[in-house]
Symmetry: C2
Subunit: 158 residues, 2 copies
């Protein structure tokens, strides 16, 4: 049996240039800008934002802190279910906590694993901030299957 | 300058075990089952199929041959635009030719490049068949950013 440490094959280092390279890539190196709306935003405005920004997932804030996530799938489902998209706020249809997240200094392999494990399209990249003595989380980035696929393409170019 | 052939770094072969591995992976090794509907299917039934099969893109056939592609985004857009989802057939809102496709014996790097270049979520894997003297294409698979992300995770496990 060959020795393993976490995800990294620990054989002859010279034989694994690509893995070494990947193990040095952090979330902040490849993350995209997050698209965030307030929880009172109507479904209609949320959908318009989704098209304008051309993203698959939108993050939702309540008082400046991450409170939920809403995907194209969630929006389609609520419309099919008969929601009045001009009246219902996104806060009523979003997926609430526990939200699967990641931090900017984590490794990109951790993100890819988490996306596959939880069967989601993207992870919000969060950081802590203090608000009236409480620790809350704000969204500072987004990492998706698109970021991973782009990285794969770049790495294969050598 | 280091020599390049296509996407593959052609330096010391021993130093690029991972790239060598990737260059041997074909579409048919990692593709998923395609979800296909007939062009007369209503938008409502297409959306239901999309949820039941949990895919982001559905391929559309006309007389057994690939004629279009429809995504969650296309469906959201047509609903927002006021389409009667119980009456309109998917053939009226799908994206028509030229459809970006791939074949089962092509390399996985070609697929990843094509997905990024055309900014799409998935590629239908097609093969030719003869119908009344004409060469047509049928869909035999689907390759998406999910497949690429899963492959990335597997490769990083060593």
């Amino acid at each position: 049996a060959r020795p393993k440490v976490g995800y990294f094959y620990t054989g002859n280092a010279n034989q694994n240039i690509m893995l070494q390279k990947i193990s040095n890539i952090k979330i902040e190196d490849i993350m995209s800008l997050p698209i965030v709306v307030n929880d009172q935003t109507t479904l209609y405005d949320t959908i318009v934002t989704l098209f304008l920004e051309d993203v698959g997932t939108i993050y939702v804030n309540t008082n400046g802190s991450l409170s939920g996530v809403v995907s194209r799938k969630d929006l389609l489902k609520s419309i099919i279910g008969g929601s009045d998209i001009n009246k219902i706020p996104v806060g009523m249809v979003m997926t609430r906590k526990p939200i699967v997240t990641i931090r900017k200094n984590e490794n990109v392999i951790v993100a890819a694993n988490r996306i596959i494990e939880y069967e989601i399209d993207s992870l919000p990249v969060i950081e802590d901030f203090e608000d009236e003595g409480k620790i809350k989380q704000r969204v500072i980035g987004r990492i998706s299957k698109s970021n991973i696929t782009k990285l794969f393409v770049e790495l294969c170019k050598g």
